[in-house]
Amino acid sequence: MASERGGFSALQVAILAGALLVVVVGADVALNRTISLQVEQADDWQTIGQIPRERSDVRHHDTLIEVNRSDEVDVRIVVDNQHLATFEASYDIRHHTERIASGPLAADRLGVSEERFTVTGDTLLPDSPEEGWDRSRPVRVDLRLTVDGNSADAWLDVEEVPR
């Protein structure tokens, strides 16, 4: 049915919109099949590591995160843009140690067992640990997210907020 003015009819517009809807959603889902490691900073989540679900290459992101001394940082896992689990991470700046505890994970959504899904962390200590932390330099924390053999390496530069 053609419109009186020669343009698209209402039915054609509806069909076109429906087709575009399928294309937009399908393309987005296909392009965003990722597993991301995010960290909270100033009430916002920043992606610091990301693994494409169906490729072995890894994209790296670095971010500077500012925390108070002995502050805690939340690290979370986002699969296909869907937040699944929050990992509690704490950084003891004075003793140059950090801890990442794994939280509950909806492994069935990933299609992998929970044992094959790990997040590990390692703090790169300053050059002279006995001298204490050089506050002019951030402490780098390396994080590795591994899912089914695919790993994303990310790092946080933890810096004390000036008081």
Partner: protein, 134 residues
């Protein structure tokens, strides 16, 4: 023959509209987290366009399409139901748009106000008021 509310056409249309409405709510509440914010907005806007275009189509096609043949319910016609679905989807798209983090609040407010006024002007000038006989 006495007209009845529950005949096959009305039942099928009501089921279809309810199913579509539930689908839009499910899409907005459960599935939409799995796509990016811009795609959320685009998909809800396209849903709104699709529903309102279908409403326009049926408005031009049907002479007597009320779903409930009772006093006070005659407004509930197939085009009206589709317009309501389109309105729900459009409101969802606006809410998602205002929640986008890629744009500043000032830009979002300016775009929302300009878009709203533009829709009012275009809608009032280009589309005729429906006639009294429906």
């Amino acid at each position: 023959m006495t007209r009845t509310v529950f005949h096959m056409r009305n039942v099928l249309v009501t089921i279809g509209i309810l199913t579509a409405g539930i689908g839009i709510v499910y899409f907005a509440a459960e599935f939409i987290d799995q796509i990016s914010p811009w795609s959320r907005m685009a998909s809800l806007a396209l849903l709104a366009v699709m529903c309102t275009a279908l409403g326009r189509h049926f408005e031009a096609e049907e002479a007597d399409s009320e779903l409930v043949d009772r006093e006070g319910w005659r407004w509930l016609r197939v085009p009206t139901a589709l317009y309501v679905l389109g309105l729900v989807a459009a409101l969802g798209a606006i809410i998602v748009f205002l929640g986008l983090e890629d744009l500043s609040r000032l830009v979002k407010a300016a775009i929302a106000i300009a878009l709203g006024l533009g829709i009012v002007v275009v809608g009032a000038r280009r589309f005729d008021e429906p006639s009294a006989d429906g």
